[in-house]
Amino acid sequence: MPEPQKLIIEAGRTERHYWADLWRYRELFYFLAWRDILVRYKQTAIGVVWAMLRPLLTMVVFTVIFGKLGKFPSEGIAPYAIMVFAAMLPWQFFANALSEASNSLVGNANLISKVYFPRLIIPSSAVITSFVDFLISGVILIGLMLWYQFAPGWRILTLPLFIAIAFAAAMGIGLWLTALNVKYRDFRYIVPFIVQFGLYISPVGFSSSVVPEKWRLFYSLNPMVGVIDGFRWAILGGDVRIFWPGFLISNGLVLLFLVTGIWYFRKTEKTFADVI
């Protein structure tokens, strides 16, 4: 039998075992995400089909409204539907992940007050749940490309990198919001607003190239700009260019949010059970 570890509990002590604990409880990431996905489709008639239907319908609506009616130009030679979808994919992932993650701690209050496990698992599994939806929508994108007989270039191989950045963006901001939401329940009302507003200032319905030069840097302060531009660059190939300064600012912000998010979460984690 391995030597049982000695644990010391003290006020204000940083948990050296925390990261080891995260590894020990790693299966919980899977189980909490599995629970949320299962519950979503319990007692529904068409079940998992909803997972496909929602992104599909949103894409159709966007194509009709922005493409056909608004006549926003497409980027490069790719069909408008694919351009929209290439941006909608990461945006939907980010929006869902953010909404779920910011409410995850309060929604799991019963667990927080009765069982111990590293609390970082809770918002992480919320992001993982949205990631599963993202993968399902990815299948639709493949379907779209087959439909339009559009073959992506070599750049699509860089897609996993941008997926990782999107994940980090959702995690970083999600951690901040969920930790703040425990103490200040105002954030329950702020988050839907951020998500709605974000949809209009992110290059989902339009392409980043329509933003005038003088606003480009300011506009890049939106962390999702880097991610969505990256997605478009990877999927659409061809003449799609990345505006590098803006791209770096955007991704730099993502990293900043992630690191500070983890820091703030860990700092307030010990008080969750008392405040929730």
């Binding site: 049982p4 644990l7 189980f31 299962l38 496990f117 010990k270």
Partner: protein
């Protein structure tokens, strides 16, 4: 093995309570006007704290749920944690389970801890029994492979084979609790912490749970068990820990600690007389109850060899049906010891005040504390009055010994009488 597995040093947990000063409003108009003023203030500067008229001068108070708690628990100990409601037991368990952080102090724990602070933590009503077993097991710290391995045992313990694939929201409360406990019972921690979860469930379930905890104890694991069930604590724990108002009042052998707990619960010391409070506007029957010794002097401490006399005064209204007086004696654990009544003399009862005297011959009661309950009724018809614990007394000495060396505070029962022993010769051939 007797190494210390849990060492608690000067543990304290402080909460801050805020109190609002209430002001009475006489008009709805004032309430509304103040409400609007407050909203206006908040809109103009949202982050500045605005004490409204209602919240004017809020005061805060420090509340110590636990203060300077220190104790040690060794490997294999079965510890019963007892105390009144609000004493701080659950807070202590929460800190030991790392759910909340102490305000000051230090704890050293060696070994894997599993806590059962609530039955069915993490159960989702939409998921089936099967799915919830996996979910709950994972939340409590078991790996997927471990759960799969123990799955059949868990289902057999819970007796829910038939309902495994129905959503848990359809389960009866008994099934729910059985399933939840079944998962938790199959954890294999070094230290198991259980908090009053046996308060729910029927007797069969409670027996099963206690039985399982016995097994766990036999395997040499350490158990911390919080309960209000004295019998369960006495029979399943060897160490007691008494918590009262945030501090450790007593720790040690479980019998001794239980005695201290009962002492805490006793509000008044022995009372030899009970007299009816004359301001009651009910028409009262029982007037007075008094304890006397053999010399008719009021007394509340007796030896096992003393006769105990009870004097009752009650008022018989002038009806045809005569009231009967019944008294019962209970011990400190509220076990019923004896019952007696004046039924044989009921024909002597007269309208007006009646005084009856009951003498209990010695030797009878063993050392300990006792209460007297009195009831006035009409035999087989209805109860008129019931006064519980009107007087109390204790027996401080046993007449006979015949026991030899005993554990301190071992329960010897409530009766102590002379038993005749004789040797019946046994042949020495093997």
């Amino acid at each position: 093995m007797s190494d210390v597995v849990i060492k608690v040093e000067n543990l304290s947990k402080k909460y801050i309570l805020s109190h609002q000063r209430q002001e009475k409003y006489t008009a709805l108009r004032d309430v509304m006007a103040n409400g609007v003023k407050n909203i206006g203030k908040k809109l103009l500067s949202p982050f500045k704290s605005h004490p409204s008229s209602i919240n004017a001068h809020p005061s805060t108070e420090d509340f110590y749920a636990l203060k300077d708690v220190s104790f040690e628990i060794k490997q294999g100990d079965r510890v019963g944690i007892i105390g009144r409601n609000g004493a701080g037991k659950s807070t202590l368990l929460k800190i030991l389970s790392r759910i909340t952080e102490p305000t000051s102090g230090k704890i050293e724990i060696t070994g894997r801890v599993a806590s059962l602070l609530e039955v069915g933590t993490g159960f989702h009503p939409e998921l089936t029994g099967r799915e919830n077993i996996f979910l709950n097991g994972a939340i409590l710290g078991m790996g997927k492979a471990e759960i799969k391995r123990k799955f059949d045992e868990i289902v057999a313990f819970a007796e829910v084979e038939k309902f495994l694939d129905t959503p848990v929201k359809r389960y009866s409360s008994g099934m729910y609790v059985r399933l939840a406990f079944a998962v938790a019972a199959h954890l294999e921690p070094d230290i198991l912490i259980v908090d009053e979860v046996l308060a729910v469930g029927d007797t069969q379930f409670q027996k099963k749970c206690l039985g399982k905890m016995e097994e766990v104890g036999k395997e040499g694991r350490t158990i911390l068990f919080v309960s209000h069930n004295m019998d369960a604590i006495r029979s399943h724990c060897d160490i007691g820990l008494l918590i009262d108002r945030g501090g450790v009042k007593s720790v040690g052998e479980v019998g001794a600690v239980l005695e201290k707990y009962l002492d805490l619960s006793i509000v008044n010391s022995n009372s030899t007389t009970w007299i009816r409070n004359q301001e009651d506007d009910k028409v009262s029957i029982l007037q007075e109850v008094t304890l006397l010794d053999e010399n008719s002097i009021e007394c509340s401490s007796f030896k096992n060899s003393d006769d105990i006399t009870l004097e009752f005064s009650y008022r018989q209204p002038s009806y045809d049906v005569k009231y009967r007086l019944v008294f019962t004696i209970l011990d400190a654990y509220e076990r019923l010891i004896l019952t007696s009544s004046n039924y044989d003399l009921i024909s002597d009862v007269q309208p007006g005040n009646n005084k009856f005297i009951a003498k209990i011959s010695s030797p009878l009661l063993a050392m300990g504390k006792y209460y007297v309950n009195v009831r006035i009724d009409v035999p087989n018809l209805k109860k008129i009055e019931v006064i519980n614990k009107c007087v109390s007394f204790d027996i401080y000495e046993n007449a006979y010994h015949q026991m030899g060396i005993l554990g301190v505070n071992e329960d010897l029962g409530c009766v102590h009488v002379q038993v005749n022993w004789k040797v019946n010769t046994i042949t020495s051939e093997v």
